[in-house]
């Protein structure tokens, strides 16, 4: 099965990190990504630019409505994602728990619906 792992955290927490701590976190992310690539679970993934750069688009009666910012203001923001292949939810949970962002925020694990 495929699972999308949505990484949520407070952007302010990231901003508050020292350069050293941020460097260590990037290194952890690099190592995690390498390990899931090698184990064959990795199907994709990227960090996202901050929510300040987000644009929300809706179409109303054929007219495109554009607003600045994310759809919902939440305490934690979506900061990145991985797409992984896992045998079942237990394996997916095990992988999600290894994402460095799980330590400072939360990971939402969503099964992919096959088309």
């Amino acid at each position: 099965m495929e699972y999308l792992m949505l990484i949520y955290s407070r952007e302010s927490d990231w901003a508050a990190l020292s350069d050293e701590a941020r460097g260590a976190l990037y290194k952890d992310y690099y190592e995690f990504t390498e390990s899931v690539r090698q184990s064959g679970h990795y199907k994709g993934g990227n960090p996202l630019q901050p929510v300040a750069t987000a644009t929300t688009v809706r179409v109303n009666n054929g007219k495109t409505m554009t607003t600045d910012g994310p759809f919902a203001e939440t305490r934690e923001q979506l900061g990145g994602y991985y797409l992984v292949e896992a045998a079942n939810l237990d394996e997916a949970i095990g992988i999600a728990a290894r994402i460095p962002g799980a330590r400072m925020g939360s990971i939402e694990v969503r099964p992919i619906q096959k088309m």
Partner: protein, 426 residues
């Protein structure tokens, strides 16, 4: 209907009642983890047994017959469904809501039990990815065979709410890929905790609200004990299931003494101990000793040890309070929780005096650790009453009264409030 066939249908129902759980547990596995399909197929097999067995007699291995008949029915349905889904996909150009299991992978092979399927079922129903209330509902529906209406009544929720809870839980198991298995060793300890927690939730729901004509509540306790026994049987190496079983037995043993003739709540210290169920106590006590000896000081073992000290005391005055307080201290180290702190404070009050207990309770209160929990002001009120500080006691009883939800508890608190008020003014 001839008397003979009527007798047979009773026999069929008896077989079905005793075999249902194991047959269902195996079928869910054989049908690719689809709970609904397995339930429906088993129901169809039962209907067929009702028409067939009165003529042929009950087969020697009735469970195997039910499983194999239900499996064929389930697979037939899956085949029809996958043909339908395929046609629908082509016609409507839509995707199915979920991937139906590949029927060919489910065909053939051994259709008997594999290990104990009931253990797979327990761990799946109590998977931590399901909400606690969904785990409880699914456990009672699937493992205990209780009806949706019965469960809704026991938990005081509307039937549609409970039905929806079950639908969502089953859907999540299928769509999110919750595996139908006993967790591997590295996950077992953690998952076992979730299972024990669910069983204890079921038990407490039955135990905490013994008021009223709700017989089903007692049934919840019985079911929790039955499942704990099953867990003990299936995982003989683990001590915590055994400790939970002992804990539940020792609590359950007091049920006849917990309410007086008028249905009013009777505190532990005032209970008529001759009403305690000696059989359940005799079964529970050696289990506690075994768990402490083999497994050491683990959370359920400690709680069972506390219950054992109460069970051993012939009168309330003979309770070994210093040891109860010490066990709560150990439990608090393992599982920091304001409710355990509250219990420890009550034990300390008995062991070292009301003042010492009150200090701990006031500290809890000052920290705002248990907002809205009626037992904190109720415990404070009790100690204040015993210290003769009746005005403060009355205030605390009033506070507890506004927070208590159970009517038997409300009546008890109102009675105590009246007593301290009368004592004060007389």
């Amino acid at each position: 209907m001839t008397p003979h066939s009527k007798e047979s249908s009773h026999e069929v129902e008896r077989v079905f009642r005793t075999e249902r759980q194991r047959a269902l547990a195996t079928l869910i596995r054989l049908l690719g983890g689809d709970f609904d399909l397995a339930e429906d197929a088993l129901q169809e097999a039962f209907a067929e047994a009702l028409t067939r067995w009165p003529g042929t007699g009950v087969p020697a291995n009735s469970r195997a017959w039910l499983v194999s008949t239900a499996r064929h029915k389930g697979l037939d349905r899956l085949r029809r469904q996958s043909v339908f889904e395929e046609k629908w996909r082509v016609l409507a150009w839509t995707a199915p809501r979920f991937e139906p299991p590949d029927v060919s992978t489910l065909e053939g092979g051994y259709d008997g039990e594999l290990g104990d399927d009931r253990l797979r079922l327990i761990f799946t129903c109590c998977h931590p990815a399901l909400a606690a209330e969904a785990q409880v509902a699914l456990t009672l529906r699937t493992l205990c065979g209780l009806g949706t209406e019965e469960i809704a009544r026991a938990f005081l929720v509307p039937v549609p709410t409970l039905a929806q809870r079950l639908v969502r839980a089953k859907q999540k198991i299928r769509v999110a890929g919750i595996p139908y298995r006993v967790p591997p060793p590295e996950l077992l300890a953690e998952r076992l905790d979730a299972v024990l927690c669910t069983l204890y939730l079921v038990f407490n729901e039955g135990y905490a609200a013994t008021a009223g004509p709700e017989l089903l509540r007692v049934e919840l306790c019985d079911e929790a004990i039955r499942l704990a026994r099953l867990l003990v049987e299936l995982l003989p190496e683990e001590t915590e299931p055994k400790a939970l079983l002992a804990l539940m037995l020792l609590h359950h043993a007091r049920r006849a003494a917990r309410l007086d003739r008028d249905g009013e709540l009777v505190l532990l210290e005032e209970q008529d101990r001759s009403l305690w169920d000696r059989g359940e106590i005799a079964e529970g006590l050696p289990l506690v000793e075994e768990c402490l000896r083999r497994g050491g000081a683990k959370p359920y073992a400690l709680q069972a040890a506390i219950a054992a000290l109460h069970a051993r005391a012939a009168t309330a005055a003979e309770t070994d309070w210093p040891q109860v307080a010490e066990l709560y201290r150990l439990l608090l180290n393992l599982q920091p929780s304001p409710v355990v702190e509250l219990n420890r404070a009550v034990a300390v009050a008995q062991a070292e005096g009301e003042e010492a207990g009150l200090r701990l309770l006031d500290d809890l209160d000052a920290r705002g650790a248990l907002p809205g929990y009626h037992l904190l002001p109720a415990a404070r009120a009790d100690l204040l009453r015993r210290l003769g500080r009746t005005a403060e006691a009355a205030g605390a009883y009033r506070e507890a009264l506004t927070l208590a939800g159970n009517s038997a508890e409300q009546r008890f608190l109102a009675r105590r409030l009246k007593e301290v008020e009368v004592g004060r003014f007389s």
